[in-house]
């Protein structure tokens, strides 16, 4: 039997056909091979320091592989004080983008910078925290790099250089394990889904100041803080379709404001918190919505007016009673 087929030669002796390729040449020209090493992380800052969700990513990334961890940070010289935090949580090399135009958060410019660093260091993966800004920068970057992006992972793993991300899909009815077809492999990681690692005090690394000039983007006219800072305990309150009437919504808004919670009104649509929460209190929501909410919170407490709608397999704690009345009493209790 001939050792040669499909246009390639496995022995190197196919002199009868000048078009035959030498052994192994096809795999050499497979341009989508995993030639990169290491993981690039966007070190988002939140005005107080490195965003906690970035620390969570670093905790997970350290356990993924032995390869180097790169981080991109932007800002003026003032943020040099944050280098130590990144090194202690596992970063080996920091790329500091110091351009004056990059001091203020600009999604397109930050994505350009990440793509620029990625093209230089050729990482295996780019991981970004699934914060509101991370969810903005990540798809811009993936589109610039023309690569795949796994959204909102609740778990990630690495096997033979292939990144697998687990995400909740179809309204929380399924978990899907997703891989990227191209390099670098990109994923956003849901805040609150990963434990931050232990810092290694005194750990050092390398800092590279990288010049970068972004393309012109829209003009930022103003920016102001929106309400109170994020509380330590993240809470969401969800109310079902039947409770989404004016008076009850107002009560729920007052309660949410009192406990610094995010309010989700499931008025005929599915919904989920913008970030993972520690506790979600759900009032008269359907089974499907309970499942979605459970996928976004560490602890789900459900309140059901009808005992028949209690789903003990989903809720961590269920309360049976008139949901509207419980909302009213809770409102009074919190105002006291």
């Amino acid at each position: 039997m001939s050792e040669c087929s499909s246009g390639s030669c496995s022995s190197g002796n196919c002199s009868g056909d000048a078009d035959k390729l030498p052994p192994g040449i096809l795999s050499v020209y497979d341009l989508n091979q995993q030639t990169g090493l290491g993981t690039l992380v966007w070190a988002e800052t939140d005005g107080m320091g490195i965003h906690p969700a970035v620390i969570e990513i670093l905790g997970k990334t350290k356990g993924l592989s032995e390869d180097r961890i790169f981080a991109m940070i932007t800002g003026s010289r003032e943020i040099k004080g944050l280098y130590g935090t990144l090194f202690e949580y596992g970063v080996d090399t920091i790329y500091h983008i110091r351009n004056e135009e990059m001091v203020t958060y600009r999604p397109e410019a930050y994505a350009e910078a990440l793509a620029d660093i990625s093209e230089r260091i050729n990482p295996m993966c780019i991981l970004i925290a699934g914060t509101p800004r991370g969810r903005e920068v990540a798809p811009l970057t993936s589109a610039m790099l023309k690569t795949g992006l796994i959204a909102d992972c609740i778990d990630i793993s690495m096997d033979g250089g292939t990144l697998s991300g687990t995400r909740s899909v179809q309204n929380g009815n399924l978990n899907a394990v997703v891989t990227c077809k191209r390099m670098p492999q990109m994923a956003t990681l849901r805040p609150g889904a990963f434990n931050p690692g232990e810092p290694e005090h005194g750990r050092k690394g390398t800092v590279i100041s990288r010049p970068f000039r972004p393309k012109s983007v829209g003009e930022i006219i103003s920016e102001r803080p929106n309400g109170t800072p994020s509380p330590k305990k993240r809470i969401s309150i969800a109310i079902g379709k039947d409770l989404c009437e004016d008076e009850t919504v107002k009560i729920a808004e007052r309660i949410a404001s009192n406990v610094n919670a995010e309010l989700i009104c499931l008025n005929g649509s599915h919904g989920s918190p913008s970030a993972a929460t520690d506790v979600c209190i759900a009032f008269d929501v359907s089974k499907g919505d309970k499942r979605i909410l459970k996928a976004h919170t560490k602890r789900l407490v459900t309140v059901d007016s009808d005992r028949g709608t209690v789903v003990r397999t989903i809720s961590d704690r269920s309360i049976v009673g008139n949901a509207t009345e419980i909302l009213r009493r809770l409102d009074v209790l919190l105002r006291q």
Partner: protein, 252 residues
């Protein structure tokens, strides 16, 4: 102003069948606009009130979506375009954006309005990826707008801060839903034009559409494990007792 509002059509039911890749089986399922698409279309109609022009609502689907698009025209869209072909099945956001941009490149437009995140998969990638593919500006988390001459001033809500930006008119914006979006009742709009375009008419190769053109691949799916396995702690009692229990939960 020519505005294109992107709308995702999702099954009008809680439970659907899913294929091995975790995508819903859409055969015989009624499809309706999701809440983020409704918000996008409502925002587009507000812009039209100020600037005039036309609003085209656009969707990508592997199924027949006339009924869902009639809801959009019923909300006031001047034209509905369905980029629909069985080959578009299992498209990821990258592949979807390829399909959308192929259509949009042949159209004139001033502004593209999207929702921030769809109800079902909720990646929120399409608006950003579309802006890169079209080479236009991008404004996310938009909750309001004003005008200044020919410029649009958008107010963005990032959760922890509110930002105001000025953009030229040609850009992609993603609109945040209000807390209580008004979902239209299922009904039929006027007999506005519904344009349907398939893969061939968009000149998209078979290997660039659907799962073939996607940048990610679903390897396995599973039903999420219930954490408590039927062991949840149930409290029954009067409303005061229930309120007390919740108070402990949120204040501990």
């Amino acid at each position: 102003m020519d505005i294109i509002a992107l709308v995702k059509l999702v099954p009008d039911s809680d439970v659907t069948d899913f294929d091995e890749n975790g995508y819903p089986v859409l055969d015989d399922v009624k499809l309706i606009p999701d809440s983020s698409g409704v918000c996008a279309l409502e925002f587009a109609m507000r812009l039209k009130e100020v600037f005039g022009g036309n609003v085209t609502t656009l969707t990508v689907s592997s199924a027949i979506v006339d009924e869902g698009m009639r809801i959009c025209t019923g909300m006031g869209a001047d034209r509905a375009v369905a980029l629909s072909d069985p080959a578009f099945r299992n498209s990821d956001t990258f592949s979807t954006v390829e399909i959308v941009s192929r259509f949009i490149e042949g159209e004139g437009y001033d502004l593209i309005v999207c929702g921030t995140r769809s109800d079902d998969s909720g990646t929120g990638h399409v608006p950003a990826e579309l802006s890169v593919m079209l080479g236009t500006g991008f404004v996310n988390y938009v909750r309001d707008f004003t005008t200044d001459g020919d410029d649009l001033i958008f107010e963005q809500d990032y959760g922890d801060s509110v930002r105001t930006v000025r953009m030229g008119q040609k850009c992609v914006i993603a609109v945040s839903c209000p807390i209580d979006p008004t979902i239209p009742s299922i009904g039929h709009g006027p007999d506005s034009e519904i344009v349907s375009k398939d893969r061939i008419s968009l000149n998209i190769g078979a290997f660039s559409a659907g799962a073939n053109g996607s940048m990610i691949k679903v390897t396995t799916t599973s039903i999420p494990l219930s954490t408590k396995n039927g062991e949840s702690d149930t409290v029954e009692g009067d409303p005061d007792a229930g309120a007390d229990e919740i108070f402990k939960e949120v204040s501990s």
